[in-house]
């Protein structure tokens, strides 16, 4: 499992303030902490960077590189910002991300060729977000064909099926299942292409204290289906423990729930029960509500 650390994210207030104030320490601490916690890549989610585009991107790349030797994931939809970052990356970076939208194919994908780097391609295209496993796969196959024609080989491409919040009126649960299908079908349909997800989006909009439980459970489920890489909260200790083979009793319970076993909850601890209930929600077996642990 390749772990991409998500903590340097413009939506986090401290990060946003640090970027504006050019406060290197905040960024460097986060880069270092995530490296120590086991990240393989450090994601730099800087937003679109409408203002001071190139200067800001280069500042944050330089700042992060001063604190860590890990490769970076340049997370912006803005190709100008992406290129500014690519120019100064010391290790082969990851472009995060391109998509099947015309603009992105024409402006973002050529950068992956020009700088010989890895690139995330999401299933989003000009028609929107495909909802089913096979339509997600169709979309990615089209974009991969386009990328191949530009001279980008499959082993440079990471495919993102797009995770949606599980709390969105039932659609999120359907999408969670379509994502399992996508990850299972990908190796046969597109050999050498890696799968990657922005994991924490699964729990967006969920009461904040309950988010880690959903994130960890979903990570374990996707990992079992063969997920290659995940953008996660590496500062969540239990998450990292589970990813690296710890907390086996919890992981077993998640697997047994996935296998459809009717698990007797009475001998289980509260924590174990919570993992079973969460896996049931993420398998689409019980309808999500913010009170999913209470019933």
């Amino acid at each position: 499992m390749i772990i991409i650390g998500e903590s340097i994210h413009v939506i986090a207030r401290a990060v946003n303030d640090a970027i504006k104030a050019r406060d290197a320490k905040v960024i460097q601490d986060l880069a270092r902490l995530q490296g120590e916690a086991g990240a393989d890549y450090i994601d730099l989610n800087v937003g679109f960077l409408r203002k001071d585009t190139e200067e800001t991107m280069q500042w944050i790349v330089n700042t992060a590189q001063a604190a860590t030797d890990l490769p970076l994931s340049l997370d912006t939809m803005n190709p100008v910002a992406t290129e500014a970052g690519l120019k100064i990356c010391k290790k082969r970076p990851l472009i995060n991300s391109a998509s099947g939208k015309t603009d992105s194919k024409e402006q973002m994908l050529p950068l992956a060729k020009k700088y010989d780097c890895d690139v995330v391609i999401s299933v989003i295209n000009d028609r929107g977000m495909p909802a089913e496993g096979d339509s997600k796969l169709d979309s990615i196959m089209d974009t991969v064909a386009y990328a191949n024609a530009l001279g980008i080989p499959n082993d440079r491409i990471w495919a993102d099926p797009i995770v949606l919040p599980v709390s969105t009126a039932g659609e999120g649960q359907k999408n969670a299942m379509a994502t399992y299908e996508f990850i299972q079908m990908l190796p046969e349909a597109l050999p050498d292409i890696k799968s990657v997800v922005g994991l924490s989006n699964i729990s967006n909009g969920v009461p904040v204290e309950l988010r880690p439980l959903l994130n960890r459970t979903y990570q374990m489920m996707l990992q079992r289906y063969g997920l290659y890489s995940s953008i996660v909260d590496v500062l969540d200790k239990d998450m990292m423990s589970m990813i690296t083979g710890g907390m086996q009793n919890m992981v077993d319970l998640i697997y047994r729930t996935m296998d459809g076993e009717d698990i007797d909850l009475s001998p289980l601890s509260q924590e174990e029960i919570n993992y079973v209930k969460t896996a049931k929600v993420l398998m689409g077996e019980t309808l999500y509500s913010d009170a999913w642990l209470e019933s």
Binding site: L287, S289, D290, A291, E294
Partner: protein
């Protein structure tokens, strides 16, 4: 080869709930098939019921053709309620409009006393709704529950913001709760889960919010459909409650219904019919002619299978 129509059989059952007391108490729900799926294995023991809406004060903004059937009683909620019973309603729906802080802010005691008077003056069950102002309803509805102790009213709207205080009063005084959430399946389930921490699930009715045809009805439709499918097919215990469709209010504020009687009747009638198809168990109407119109359209006899 001979064609054999597939017959489905489900193991989920919508809870059968009774509102009101005495001979004319009303049974809601109890079905273990989807709406109108009479060809499947199972039954819909209780046909959709119809409540007529009244208010605790003379309503403002009702078009003349809606006031007309009640014009001699509309300033007296007790007489108005009795007239609804005479006109064939299965229940009366009393909206305590005057308690709204933005209307008259009338006190809880007054509203509770009036509610009791109305409930005692009719044989059919009473559904009583506060103004929808969460903090005011948290005063008014518990008082209503207390004063009408043991009358088995359906009391709402119970919201996420006031479910504890309103729900406990409903529990203590022998009533049913109408749990309302804003057109969202996840929020609907959450509210039922929270209420069920202290209130038995067979004392909850679901109000998923009902929009009028042309004004978002399809959202209400697909939500009710979803509630029934989850309850009957998937057996999600937290969606196995009867559904109330509070639709008259939404229909009669449309431009079309305001214009003339015929359009108004059709607007309300078609919305009601559509929501019955989606799974509504009790429908709140404003115009009495629509009880007959909608009942005839859905064909009373098939519901007695």
């Amino acid at each position: 080869m001979e064609y054999k129509a597939p017959v489905e059989s489900y193991s989920g059952v919508v809870r059968e709930e009774i509102i009101g007391i005495g001979e004319k108490a009303l049974k809601l729900g109890g079905e273990n098939i989807l709406p109108f799926h009479f060809f499947d294995e199972g039954s819909l023991p209780n046909p959709p019921a119809f409540a007529l809406e009244i208010a605790d004060m003379e309503p403002e903004g009702w078009p003349e053709h809606l006031v007309e059937p009640f014009k001699d009683v509309i300033s007296d909620p007790v007489k108005w309620a009795q007239k609804c019973e005479d006109l064939g309603a299965d229940a009366v729906f009393l909206r305590l409009t005057s308690t709204d802080p933005a209307v008259k802010d009338s006190p809880a005691d007054e509203a509770a006393a009036l509610t009791k008077k109305v409930a005692e003056s009719i044989g059919i069950p009473l559904i009583v709704y506060g103004s929808g102002d969460d903090s005011k309803d948290a005063e008014v509805l518990p008082k209503v529950a207390e004063v009408c102790d043991g009358m088995n009213l359906l009391i709402g709207p119970v919201h996420k913001e006031n479910y504890e205080v309103v729900g406990r009063a409903i529990l203590d005084h022998g009533h049913k709760a109408s749990a309302e959430s804003p057109l969202d399946i996840n929020l609907l389930k959450e509210l039922n889960v929270k209420l069920c921490h202290f209130l038995p699930p067979d004392r909850i009715v679901i109000d998923p919010e009902s929009a009028a045809v042309g004004y978002g009805m399809e959202y209400s439709f697909s939500l009710m459909e979803r509630v029934k499918q989850l309850g009957v097919i998937v057996k999600d215990s937290m969606t196995q409650m009867p559904i109330i469709a509070d639709l008259g209010r939404e229909c009669w504020k449309t431009k079309q219904a305001m214009e003339n009687k015929e359009q108004g009747l059709l607007w309300e009638g078609i919305t009601a019919l559509s929501l019955i198809l989606a799974g509504a168990n009790i429908l709140v109407l404003r115009h009495p002619d629509n009880i007959k119109l909608v009942k005839e359209t859905i064909g009373g006899e098939v519901w007695q299978k």
